[in-house]
């Protein structure tokens, strides 16, 4: 069978994402990449925590943070993580339509998260909390912005995946791609859980 061939219910492997050596490599390589990303974000978190009380010329964290909005963003991202789980479940059952549907929902949720974040940033900038207003500002926008960048990249990636494979079924070639995307998305969500806790909730107590 050719890797590009559409899978049928008859020849469908248990884990289509790991059924080829290429798939196995991608799977492992991506997990290891996430291990590296852990250090990447840890460095950002560390920097942020080291500087979180150095407001410079900007306002203090507790004065500006908009917790309800951030809370909403958190729920949105969590939900999108769930929908991507559903997509993976569908992938494992060769239900292409369902999978694409869930992924589409994931994309929408991701985009609305981004929208909220941009709105939030604009709001902060108006309050005088900017990238250059002090060490805290720099650290905040860098950490949260890096995460936002990851979400944005995820959305671009997912869009490409969905468009490229529209009208195509699952193959041994494209299932690892879907699976990897889901891993990525979960990871981005994990990072957000910490941002919510360490940046926003901690910011309120000071």
């Amino acid at each position: 069978m050719n890797v590009g061939e559409r899978l049928t219910d008859q020849n469908f492997p248990e884990s289509p994402e790991k059924a080829t050596l290429e798939g196995k490599n991608k799977f492992l390589g991506f997990w290891l990449f996430l291990g590296g990303e852990t250090v990447l974000f840890a460095t950002l978190f560390g920097t942020y925590l080291g500087l979180r009380n150095s407001f410079g010329k900007g306002p203090e964290a507790s004065e500006i943070f908009q917790l309800p909005m951030v809370f909403a963003a958190t729920i949105i991202l969590l939900t999108s993580s769930l929908t991507s789980v559903y997509a993976v479940l569908a992938l494992k059952e060769n239900r292409v339509k369902a999978m694409r549907g869930w992924l589409f929902v994931t994309l929408l949720l991701g985009l609305s998260f981004l929208g909220l974040e941009i709105y939030e940033f604009i709001h902060y900038v108006h309050e005088g909390h900017t990238f250059t207003s002090g060490a805290f500002g720099s650290a905040f926008y860098t950490l949260v912005g890096f995460h936002g960048g990851h979400v944005l990249f995820g959305c671009l990636w997912l869009s490409t995946l969905l468009i490229r494979n529209s009208g195509r079924g699952l193959t041994l070639y494209n299932s690892p791609k879907y699976y990897l995307f889901a891993l990525y998305w979960h990871f981005v969500d994990v990072v957000w859980v910490f941002i919510f806790t360490v940046v926003y909730l901690l910011g309120k107590v000071g």
């Binding site: 492992l28 390589g29 290891l32 920097t47 500087l51 150095s54 720099s138």
Partner: protein, 619 residues
Amino acid sequence: MSNAHAANKSSLWDWLTTVDHKKIGILYLISGGFFFLIGGLEALLIRIQLMKPENTFLTGDLYNQVLTMHGTTMIFLAAMPIIFAFMNAVVPLQIGARDVAFPFLNSLGFWLFFFGGVLLNLSWFLGGAPDAGWTAYAPLSTTSSGSGLDFYVLGLQIAGAGTLIGGINFLVTIINMRAPGMTFMRMPLFTWTAFITSGLILFAFPALTIGFFLLMFDRVFEANFFDASMGGNPIIWEHIFWIFGHPEVYILILPAFGIISEVVSTFSKKRLFGYSAMVFATVLIGFLGFMVWAHHMFTVGLGPVANSIFAVATMAIAIPTGVKIFNWVFTLWGGQIRFTTANLFAVGFIPTFVMGGVTGVMLAAAPADYQYHDSYFVVAHFHYVIVGGLVLGLFAGLYYWYPRMFGKMLNETIGKWNFWTFFIGFHLTFFPQHFLGLMGMPRRYFTYPEGFGLGSMNFISTIGAFFMTIGTILFVYNIIITHAKGKMVSGDPWDGRTLEWAIPNPTPHYNFLQTPLVRGLDALWIEKMAGNKKMTPAEPVGDIHMPNNSILPFIMSLGFFIAGFGFIYFNKGGALALVAIIVGLGIGLVCMFLRSWIDDHGYHIHKKDLPKEDKGADL
């Protein structure tokens, strides 16, 4: 995309698009070697300036640039790529694989490194090189005028991304692509060290990536990470740099340990003594390597508790390293030691590295380091471990694997001259520097007064550097002679023990006609002892799947290179810089998009186009 036949051509286009790990290895070797010459030239300038007191050959400003570029070039653009050259050339062969896990990414990793290195070095022609030392401590690095440090940040950022990609590639290759029977505890030690080094890369480089971003944001976008007057804290940079920086030195030395293990065992005709202990020591060094970084910061003011903890943790690394040293000595013990050039370098490595290692332990004694730190004693220490360790190891590896990489053997007579001039020159250069440091000569000094009595030692040191230059030139000459006059040798010229010697010369495109079956440590040696002429195959001859060449990695790296320029000139270049950023990043993104869009299934070499049977290394 190209096709099956492109692989056999050797045109420029083929080199730009290749995804063959053997060719990428050669690309790494050539560019790493070139940067080594540049870095060496810079070292010579340093030594000439310091030859006599109050010399005026270089100004303070220029000296700082030369010094910074010497350190940076040597570490990031010479040592690491040459290590990657060996990993590419050897690891897949040693584990009996036809390829690496991610051929495309492998090529991308190379081109990112290459363009990053070029970007950094272009600073010489565009208003001055970086001048804050290879450690780029803030706020000197954030306030330094000119664009030098912007080149540093962006050049290394791009090159570093390439390194990270390379690291992941080798981790996955080693985990997933081993031939049947090649268990972890049967892997040759070079593969083991490549594995651990890749792991260190994976976890150390992301910290540096962020560090560079912070530095860039401070410099280019007026962020305040390291500006104390705005609440920033320059110590954060020091930590981030050394959280990366210390693992980095083990990233450098571990592969050299691997090379020495292979060479010593081959040329004493013995199995490596204490193989499992060697593996364990490698893992332990990698692990401990992450917990000692603050020994570079003893004088920063971290307080006695932190200093004590890091001092003791640092000393602990001497234990697994010692295990390695003694295991090498006992591998030689009772052997039939052949002093080929490769082995000369290896046995030169052992005592020299021990000297560098023990001065490292002296540095680890924190209160004594209050005296050593930032003095020539440290310079002596790290050149002993880097030049006396890593570089001698790399030379050993070059002489050893040259027939595998290029099919020809380097000239042994010139090789021996190469060794002795370099080795003697090395000790002449760096041994006196221990005393210079203790006599109160700080490092990174472009000059020193007449009356301090530092002149004679410095002079000896400079003479030594010229000897090393002769050694290096002899090596270059050796390469030229070898390619002009040398003859092709058999696939197993050294009576090797490991799988890379089980294949004919030149190495076929697909490495192994039939994947070999591995029956123990030193797989080839086992077959030889069993009276077999070649490896037992694990599969019949069949179609071989190969990846397609691609120009995308080159173009993608070019895109980031262009974007790098944009960031460098963001504050001075106006609209043009912005255009460069957008276009550059755009090119990068479009390439990623294309890679995602175009299905790339590779191609097959058909059975009928392959030899009928595996002939082995045509002994």
